[in-house]
């Protein structure tokens, strides 16, 4: 006698409660051939999708920024208190980046990343402040915002003086 595959699977318990219904489905006597096949299909399909999704995500994951190597950008005597900030070229994973370097009275040598904290346009030193051409933010010499829309002070980069040389590293704030 042919088995009737079209019949609805026997449902257990309260029909109005889908969760109970679903849980009931897991008790051994309730797992029909039909349910088994459907659950395995979705599980296997899901696992395949998850595997490829994970693979892609792992591959595209942005690299860590924490260990940017120190780079020499000049000598200590280039930067004197009272001089305007100078833009120095740094490496940015194979293409160029830059930092504005200035020696301040209380803070010592400071390096600001060259990208505005609003939307990362390149600002310049104009007159007595940093000004961004994109939406008009300005910052004072300490990196504090003097005119919006920039929401945060300039980002500082690690700067080290060693044997009369100035070395710049990654973003620290």
């Amino acid at each position: 006698m042919a088995k009737d595959h079209s019949a609805a699977p026997p449902s257990g318990g309260d029909e109005k409660n889908p969760l109970a219904d679903w849980l009931e489905g897991w008790t051994p006597q309730e797992v029909t051939r039909r349910k088994f096949m459907s659950v395995s299909m979705w599980t296997i399909g899901g696992l395949i999708a998850l595997a490829y999704g994970g693979l892609g995500l792992k591959f595209l994951w942005p690299p860590s920024q924490s260990n940017v190597p120190l780079e020499e950008v000049g000598t200590s005597d280039e930067f004197k208190i009272g001089d305007p900030p100078v833009l120095k070229v740094t490496d940015n994973q194979g293409s160029e980046g830059g930092a504005w370097i200035v020696r301040l009275e209380n803070e010592g040598l400071v390096a600001y990343d060259m990208h505005c904290t609003h939307l990362e346009c390149p600002f310049t030193w104009v007159g007595n402040q940093f000004a961004c051409p994109c939406h008009g933010s300005t910052f004072d010499i300490h990196g504090q915002v003097t005119h919006p829309p920039a929401p945060r002070p300039l980002r500082r980069r690690l700067v080290v003086e060693k044997d009369g040389k100035v070395l710049v590293g990654g973003i620290i704030s």
């Binding site: 293409s95 390149p122 000004a131």
Partner: protein
């Protein structure tokens, strides 16, 4: 039976498409047609044009930043070489303008559909697919923009990807995924290229197939009104049944489509031929020549809008992430939000005024953004400066706020109005530049007066021009 008929029959025995083809070609459409209803087809045409020219460009372009013998990144070099050859230049021009055409045509198509209420039941899903298509088109434009790797490309992408960074919690991570590095590098251009030539074309083709398929499935709105009541119920699929006063889609409607395509194509060819797109200096991550970043015109409204946002972090999040996301979501949900069943423009005051205000807002912001161009500095310092010398500078750098309008009560249109000053009093103190508010603001030194540096939101006026103004004030600010 003729050979072609036999071939068709052979195919139909295997594919059973005869009924569907009959439905697609011979469904009734109103006799009086509006060519605006074919804008969707114009969009399909522009996409095909983009597809063809894109494939041609891909045969000469590679998203590589390796330096060539002329010291330029390969991607930029490839564009230069392409543009040195007339046909290559024309193909690039077609693809470049095609992007703008796509945005315009899709936008107009959407306005038309909105105006005639074609998104209402039973066509809600097709409107939603349309919104997804719009987003895909904008993603195409955004990712393609970076590929020539010139100054404009580089900085527009820097800003665009930085905007993503304002998304709460996942922002920085998303920016990292998009860029593949802290700022823009080889990883970025490779990613953008893959998205532009692989991910988006597949997405667009799938969405478009569903979008067009649904039109055939549900029929066009205009037909609904012209069809006799109950026609759809009685109609037997696969039969030709054209009610009185209507005509079959083929060849009446298709003729209109072909004409629309022809007009669109001629316009595209003409624009591409007469306005060859420039390429700027190669991307300079240090921006040594002080390029002023600006987005392409179709993102100008966003650029301009951001200038009005206060500088608090959360205000930025709202402006950059929340408002655009909510706007797209609302657009997507239009068919569910608009419960008014009428298609009659006069009976839809709310929907149509919402549409009109959106259009005015977008066009206005685009225009403002477009106009806020700063003319590049060329002036020499003028020592014995007169009003005519400084007036030229005002025209170049201050016009949009202080000549065509009088922001802060200050008009720089004439000598008299300039000397009169604005709501903060006189802006020129003859003989004393350091006491003249105008001199202070253009030199960014008026913070203590609570006046932001000028030009607001723009690149500072070049030092030569500022010197000219200073000389003019020093010499007594004469006429």
């Amino acid at each position: 039976m003729s050979a072609s008929k036999r071939l068709l029959q052979w195919l139909d025995e295997r594919l059973s498409i005869k009924d569907d083809m009959t439905e697609a070609l011979y469904h009734p459409v109103p006799r009086r047609e509006s060519y605006l209803d074919y804008l969707g087809f114009a969009a399909v045409f522009v996409f095909i044009s983009q597809f063809v020219t894109g494939i041609l460009l891909a045969t000469v372009y590679a998203p590589s930043l390796a330096l060539t013998s002329d010291g330029l990144p390969y991607a930029y070099h490839a564009m230069k070489v392409l543009m040195s050859e007339p046909w290559g230049y024309f193909i690039r021009s077609l693809h470049f303008w095609g992007a703008s055409f796509m945005v315009v045509v899709v936008f107009l198509h959407m306005l038309r559909v909105f105006y005639i209420g074609a998104y209402k039941k039973p066509r809600e899903l097709n409107w939603m697919l349309g919104v997804l298509l719009l987003v895909t088109v904008l993603a195409f434009a955004f990712t393609g923009y970076l590929l020539p790797w010139d100054q404009e490309a580089y900085w527009a992408t820097m800003v665009g990807t930085a905007m993503v960074g304002y998304a709460p919690l996942v922002g920085d991570w998303l920016t990292g995924i998009l860029r593949g590095s802290e700022f823009l590098t080889q990883a970025t251009i490779s990613r953008f290229f893959s998205i532009h030539v692989l991910v988006l074309p597949i997405t667009l083709v799938l969405l478009m197939a569903a979008h067009i398929g649904l039109v055939f499935r549900v029929g066009v709105t205009e037909a609904d009104r012209a069809l006799p009541p109950g026609w759809r119920k009685k109609h037997v699929r696969g039969t030709v049944d054209i009610p009185k006063g209507m005509v079959p889609f083929y060849p009446y409607g298709t003729f209109g489509m072909v004409m629309t395509v022809l007009v669109t194509m001629l316009a595209l060819l003409a624009v591409a031929y007469f306005f060859l797109p420039e390429i700027q200096a190669p991307a300079d991550p240090l921006n040594r020549d002080h390029y002023e970043p600006k987005p392409p015109w179709y993102f100008m409204f966003l650029y301009q809008f951001l200038k009005f946002v206060p500088g608090y972090y959360w205000a930025q999040v709202v402006a950059i992430v929340v408002i655009p996301t909510v706007a797209v979501l609302l657009l997507f949900l239009v068919p569910l939000l608009d419960k008014n069943p009428s298609h009659e423009p006069r009976r839809r005051p709310v929907a149509l005024s919402a549409m009109a205000s959106m259009v005015v807002l977008l066009v206005g912001l685009t225009y403002m953004g477009q106009k806020s161009t700063v003319i590049p500095p060329t002036e020499e310092v003028v020592t014995q400066a007169k009003w005519s010398d400084v007036s030229k500078i005002f025209q170049a750098y201050c016009a949009s706020c202080h000549i065509s309008t009088t922001s802060g009560g200050l008009s720089l249109a004439s000598y008299e109005s300039t000397m009169k000053g604005g709501q903060n009093g006189a802006v020129i103190v003859p003989g004393k530049p350091e006491e003249s508010l105008l001199w202070l603001v253009i030199n960014g030194e008026a913070n203590q007066y609570n006046v932001p540096p000028m030009p607001l939101g723009g690149q500072p006026i070049p030092a030569t021009a500022r010197q000219t103004i200073e000389n003019w004030i020093k010499d007594g600010a004469s006429k």
